[in-house]
C-alpha cells in the first residue's frame, strides 16, 4: 500500500524584507532544505524540533498553505504541488489542520455552531448543523455550548472546538501544529488523549508537530526529528527513543525532564 502523503525534495523559502535592496527582489531565506518524507495511512507521525527548525513550515507546506519553491507533494496519488485554487478547494475537506492558538484560529464573532459547520456549509451540506452538533459531542462538549462564542470557553475547551472543526469533514489527513503548547498540563492530557482516540478510531493519518518529546513518544508511531530545515533522523518511535542514531537526537532526548530522575529510558 502506498503512502497517503508523499513529499519529495521539498524546498521552501521566505523573502527577507530586511535585506531587500531599494530596487529588485528581496533575497530569500531558505527554511526547508529538500525534505523527503512519506506518511503511511493511519499512521501518527511526530515532527519534532526546536523552534525555527522548520517543522511548522513543513506542516503548512504539506497543506499548500505555503507555496513551495521546489519539490513535490503527492496526496493519495494526486500531485497537489501545482494545483490551482479551485482544484485545491475541492480537495481541502480531505486534509485538515488544527492550529496552535485556538483563540486566534477560531473567529471570535462566530458561535461554535457556525464555526464547526462552516467547512461543511461552504460545500452546501444541508446537514451541516446536525453534523456540527455531532462533532461537538464527539469532542466531549455539551450541545448547549453550540450557541456560545470562543471567548466564553476555557483554553482546553477551545482547542477541543479546533479538533471538532477539523474532524467534522471526516478528513484522511490532519496536521496538528503544537496544539497542546498553550494549555495547562491537565488540559493537555485531555486534549491529546481525545485526539489520539478519534484518530485511531477513524483511521485518520495524523502529523503531530511538537517540541515536547515525551508527548510525541506516547502518541506517535514514528518520529521525524528536524533541525535547521533538514530532517536529522526519522525512525519508528521505539527505535528512535531506544537507539537514537544522530548526536542531535541524543541531545534532545537528554533534555527531556524525567518524571522520576533515577529511571533510565
Amino acid at each position: 500500500m502506498s503512502a497517503l502523503v508523499d513529499i519529495r525534495d521539498l524546498v521552501v523559502s521566505y523573502p527577507d524584507m530586511a535585506r531587500k535592496p531599494l530596487l529588485g527582489a528581496a533575497p530569500r531565506n531558505t527554511v526547508l532544505h529538500g525534505i523527503t518524507l512519506a506518511v503511511g495511512r493511519g499512521q501518527i507521525i511526530g515532527i519534532v524540533g526546536e523552534s525555527g527548525s522548520g517543522k511548522s513550515t513543513l506542516g503548512r507546506a504539506i497543506l499548500r498553505l505555503i507555496e513551495p519553491d521546489q519539490g513535490q507533494i503527492v496526496f493519495d496519488g494526486t500531485d497537489i504541488t501545482h494545483l490551482d485554487d479551485r482544484a485545491l478547494r475541492a480537495l481541502r475537506p480531505r486534509f485538515q489542520m488544527i492550529f496552535q492558538d485556538p483563540m486566534s484560529s477560531l473567529n471570535p464573532r462566530q458561535t461554535l455552531h457556525r464555526l464547526i459547520a462552516t467547512p461543511l456549509a461552504i460545500r452546501g451540506d444541508t446537514q451541516a448543523m446536525d453534523k456540527a452538533a455531532n462533532a461537538l459531542d464527539r469532542v466531549g462538549l455539551p450541545s448547549r455550548f453550540l450557541a456560545r462564542y470562543p471567548h466564553e470557553l476555557s483554553g482546553g475547551q477551545r482547542q477541543r472546538v479546533g479538533i471538532a472543526r477539523a474532524i467534522v469533514q471526516s478528513p484522511d489527513f490532519i496536521v496538528a501544529d503544537e496544539i497542546a503548547s498553550g494549555l495547562d498540563v491537565s488540559s493537555q492530557a485531555v486534549v491529546l488523549t481525545l485526539l489520539q482516540d478519534i484518530v485511531r478510531e477513524t483511521g485518520t493519518t495524523l502529523a503531530f508537530i511538537s517540541h515536547d518529546l515525551s508527548v510525541v513518544r506516547r502518541l506517535c508511531d514514528s518520529v521525524v526529528v528536524m533541525a535547521g530545515g533538514k530532517i536529522v533522523e526519522a525512525a519508528r518511535t521505539t527505535t528512535l527513543f531506544n537507539t537514537p542514531q544522530s548526536g542531535y537526537t541524543r541531545k534532545l532526548l537528554e533534555a527531556i525532564p524525567l518524571p522520576e530522575p533515577d529511571q533510565v529510558w
Binding site: L63, L65, D85, R89, A90, R92, P93, Q96, M97, F99, Q100, D101, S104, S105, L106, N107, P108, R109, Q110, T118, P119, I122, R123, Y149, H151, E152, R165
Partner: protein, 283 residues
Amino acid sequence: MDEALRTSPRATPWRLWLSGGWLTLFFGVALLAPWIAPHDPLYQDLFLQRLPPFWIDGAETGHPLGTDSLGRDVASRLMHGASVAATVALIAGLATCLLGSVLGLLAGFYRGWVDQVISRIVDIWMSFPPVLFAILLVAVIGTGLTSVIVAIIVIDWTRFTRVVRAETMAQARMDYTEAAHVAGMSRFATLMREILPNVAPVILSVLTLQMGIAIVVEAILSFVNLSVSTDDPTWGGMIAEGRVSIHQAWWVLIFPMIALFLTVLSFTQFGDALRNRFDPVLR
C-alpha cells in the same frame, strides 16, 4: 459559573441612553420639522426683533427661544436646521463610510499593488488642508446641499480607508483567516464572511464619528456662506448670523451651538456605547 459569567452586571448604559435619547430627538425633530415647528422659519417680523428666550423678561409666548435680528423664530429655525444637519449626517456619513471602507478592506486584505495604489492616493489626499479643500471644492462645483455632501465624501473617505485598512491587516494575520482557507473558503468569501464582521465594530465607531464631523463641516461651510442658500436655516448659518448680534441677542448664537455640540458628542458616544453593549467579544 458559566451562566453567571454570561449575565454578569455591566457598566451602566447611561451613555447609551443619553446619547441615544438625544439622537432620537434630533432625528425626530429633523423629520417632523415642517409639522411641529411653531412658525415659518423664514417669516420675518420686524416688530418682534431680538425677542429673548422664555425665561427672560420681555419674551413672547409664541417664541420660546426668542427671535433673531430679523424677527425670525429661533426655535423654528433650529428645527429646520436639524433637517439639514440630519440629511448631511446620514447621506454624507454613509456614503463616505461605504467608499472609504471598501477601499480599506481591499487594500488591507489583498495587499500588493492594490494596496500600493490605494495607500499612495490616501497619502496624497491627506496632504491637502481639508477645510480649504472643501471651500475650494464647493466654490468650484457650486453651493447647495448636494455640493456639501459631495465635498464631505471627497475629503473624508481617507479617514475610513486608513482605519479599515489597518484593522483588516491585523485581522487577516489572525489564524482564523488561514483556518477559513483550510476549510476551503474562497478569498473573497473569507474577506466578507470572516474578516468583515471583525472589522465592522471599528467601521461603526468611525461612522458615528464621521456623522458628527459631517455636521461640523456643514456648519463650517454654512458659516462661510458656502452651504445651502442663505434663506434656508442651518445651524452654521445661524451661528454666523448670531455672531453679528452677539451683544444684543446672544441666544441666536448660543442655541444652535448647543444643538451642534450635543449632537456631535452624542454621535461619538452612541457609537462607542453601542459597541460596548452589543459586541459579543467585548460583552
